[in-house]
Amino acid sequence: MKITINWLKEHLDTNLNENQIIDKLTDVGLEVEGVESQSGELDNFLIAKILKAEKHPDADKLRVCDIDIGKDDPVKVVCGAQNAKEGLFTIYAPPGAVVPKNQIKLAVSKIRGVTSYGMLCSESELNLSNESDGIIELLPEKYNKKIGKNYFPKKSLNIIDISVTPNRADCLGVRGIARDLAAAGAGTLKNKKEKKLDKKNKQTVSVKIENEKNQACTSFGSCLITGVKNTESPEWLKEKIISLGQKPISAIVDITNYVMFDLNRPLHAYDVDKIDKGIIVRNSKKNETFEALDNKEYKLDNEMCVISDASGVLGLGGIIGGTRTGTELDTKNVLIESAYFSPRSIRKSSKKLNIDTDAKFRFERGIDPLSIEQGLERAANLIQEICGGIVSEFDIQKIEDVKKKSLKFNPSLFEKITGFNISKKEMIIILNNLGFETKEDKELLNITVPSWRPDIFQEVDLVEELVRIKGYDQIKMIEPEKVRNKPTLNLKQKLFHFLQRSIASKGYLEAITWSFTDSKINKLFIEDNKEVKIVNPISSDLDVLRSSIFSNLIIHFNNNLGRGFKDLLVFEIGPTFSGLQPGEQQTVAGGLRSGKLARQSWLEKERLVDVFDVKSDVIKSLVEAGYNKDKLYIDDETPSYYHPGKSGRIFLNKGKEKVVAFFGDIHPAILKKLHIKVEALVGFEMFLDNLKQPKKSLKDQKTQYKYSDFQKSERDFAFVLDRNFKVQELIEIISNVDKELVRSVKVFDVYEGTNIPEGKKSIALNVTIQSLEKTLIEDDLNKINQLIISAVESKTGAKIRS
């Protein structure tokens, strides 16, 4: 909502200056979003007359014009407008002027060899309208004495832009704002007396509201003014309309707009002679059409509130009028509409048709239903004053009576909510100033809510009124108590934070990417998940929720490769989605790493990152998070986006309940599809929801401290076994030979080739044996060696290599 201080002062007697008023507005909850100066920028635009317009010697579409700007000599301007012709009155912008539309500062310039001093303006360039076809044409009779004068009235006028919250419909008019300021002590609200209208005739246009189901119009007031002479608005009115950022059209239209912004009372003016018989307010039928004042044709749905006549729809009630009965300069007889439409219906219809107008914006927030006559009164007065004519009596049709809301207010609630106190007397004054009627009823106040406040329903709403007018700075600060009754994080949240930092500590950079992604890429990672589509995506390449943490990460990863990085480590921890119901999401930590280790190091031999690098990252993170490494169980069934031979999945134990992680090389086909050129790309996904809490808390584990000082012995073994036999099993078999004595099993060589039969492999292991109770003698060691060999041979078919 834009206002000027001058306009505000028409409603408010105040001694405050502009800055004080701005502060006060903010204090009462009418946030000032900006103050723009209308002066200066527009001071340069002069009324001018084209004396001569000749074709540009070197361009067919350009004209070289001599412009009279009231100086001794005319100025030369090169102009591209087709309507630039001799004798035209228009607006001239000199070099140095800033064009309001594009903020370009004009300079003297040569256009195809001809020097041009400034330019002639179109309406769109001056932000007066969207009309960009040709330069402005001013009426000669009005402007011929004003050549060289400023087109825009000179004023040091600041436009104050207020962000009105959706609850404050009443502040979408200057008077409402003035009322709030007055209540907050910024002055007094002026009591404006309307001149008494001489209503000579009956309102002869028939108006009928169809009393049908879901009729949105509950009241329709009208006034007929006959014999008017529509004209351009007088200066004071034009100035107001321009200050709102709008373009003056004609007196009648400008007056309806003015009343809307002044009193927050939308009106509509019809050319009576174009109405077929009478006005019927009814619900639309499906597929009815009409042409609206925005020059668009709208096709209507069922149950939209329309103003119609015998020939069809004239306009959408409270939203937009139609072209068929619009007023023009030659309109003789006007009908002014002042009606009430239900916010819900306005909102529904305008959303469906995607129309946004000033009237719609107000009606959907709730217009004062009792302002119908006030609006007619004001508009009729102004029309008569400016356009003459004879005013009729007001015709008010209604299908529902307006009842003011009333409620009981317990003043003690104020202190309970705000923590400070004001006297009942002061409360009454504030409420009365805001238009509430109050009556004391013992401890309570009986309140009648003004009809312009659709946002007040209950006691707490009154508390807000009181505290915002009194000032939020009155609220006393209560220091918070430093007491904690509940742990800040639950175990799952702790795990999240722990893994996040644990993964980062392996060298990965944490990224945060959108939860939505491109369905084409997501498809590559979707597996059995359902695709979750967004009905109204922000762009077609962000059309689904991600099924995998890789869907976005891999694209960003590739962008970084494109930036010239080779050895990258990136991870993200966040949601992936498996369905469209709330909760059908998983928390996943996924990482990707590429390139080489020790690239171009003088010290070490460089090598490509591989599956065992990511395996180490994952397992180390799990161990750091408190999971027992010896219990982890790994197999090689992985989703299709991993390399089928170089990837694995991890379970917390052999029971294989839930997959806690995947790791491995990314499938080369994925790289090809996504045009990723990389020496090596490995990745992992950890599924936090599948990570059950370790059985023993760290606290409990610490109490079981056991160690042995007895001598430990190491023995090496080499077994030849089937190529496909998993080393994980081999280690398990050896460990199980004697869980007390076998302290660790290390794999130090894996060999296939010469001396090893086809389809077999040789695994060399180093086993550490140590007792908690004694130093083992040779006999003990031999015994356990034999046990290991026989266990492995019998359970795996392996042969010990001698």
Binding site: V460, V463, Y472, P480, K482, Q493, G507, H556
Partner: protein, 355 residues
Amino acid sequence: MLDIKKIKSEFILKLKENLNLNQVNQIKTDLFGKNGLISSQFKQLGKVAEEERKKFASDLNLAKEELQNLITKNIDSIEINEINQKLEKEKIDVTLPERPFVQGKIHPVSQVIDEISSIFSEIGFSVEEGPDIENEYNNFTALNTPDNHPARDMHDTFYLDEKKELLLRTHTSPVQIRTMLNDKPPFKIIAPGRTYRSDSDPTHTPMFHQVEGLHIDKNINMGHLKGCLNYFIKEFFEVDKIKMRFRPSHFPFTEPSAEVDIGYEIKDGKIIIGGGDKWLEVLGCGMVHPNVLKNVKVNPDEFQGYAFGIGIDRLAMLKYGINDLRAFFDCDYRWLNHFGFDPIDVPTNYRGLSR
């Protein structure tokens, strides 16, 4: 019987020469070997006349000791020399680069979430979460925003079904609803997380982060709200003093509602939080609307309290001087590396939030 003195002086001279280890060992053998000069003297001891024996023995022992010391010293010095020579050969250029290492980083949004959690933890808030997909009821209706409410226009919502019943949450406020429906008052929670609005321009991204706060108990009033937020802002920006302004505003789910501005100034092109004459809006808050409490079966006559919502990304930008919001989600390796935090840098209240 040789003259001990002669032997002694002769060998002392010998040992002063520049000898190698073998030569010293030869001398050692010559003197103290089985038939060494000194060893054999000891064998003669019995033959020495009784009256001279004592002196002889004493001289012999002295000579032995002196020579032995000299030999040990000699050997030591030779060995040290050899080691030194060896070390000299082993000398390398330690200014050569170390073995390569990689340093991971935590995203500034994650870091700031941890900072926020740490601050609110001190005053007894616990962390709650909610799903990113919400139903229309939790996101709007239960929060006193019925479907004809113009406030819904301020939330450009992503929908997941044509009926518009399922959506991506437009704010973290539905966590209030879930928390209160699942439990009994009092409530004292914060809920950080991802939020979504169909909005994309230089200062808006379709996904962003918010943290919700909710404190419901008996007799929690606007003074508590003011105190809590003042404490938070002061702690978060790690300044002693904060200039703060509560402004009336409107949110359907709070009444009275407020927006909070903090004072700042620009010094050398950088935003300084704490003083100054400019205001910056940082959050919205208010007393939880009685309708919301009724919707979650909390009796508004018995319980009341406040709620607030803070934009996390914006806080991160302000605190760490990040200019471009869109870069947060662009995953540029250089940006992540520059603005990210070391994983060891866990914000705590005893060590401080940031370094």
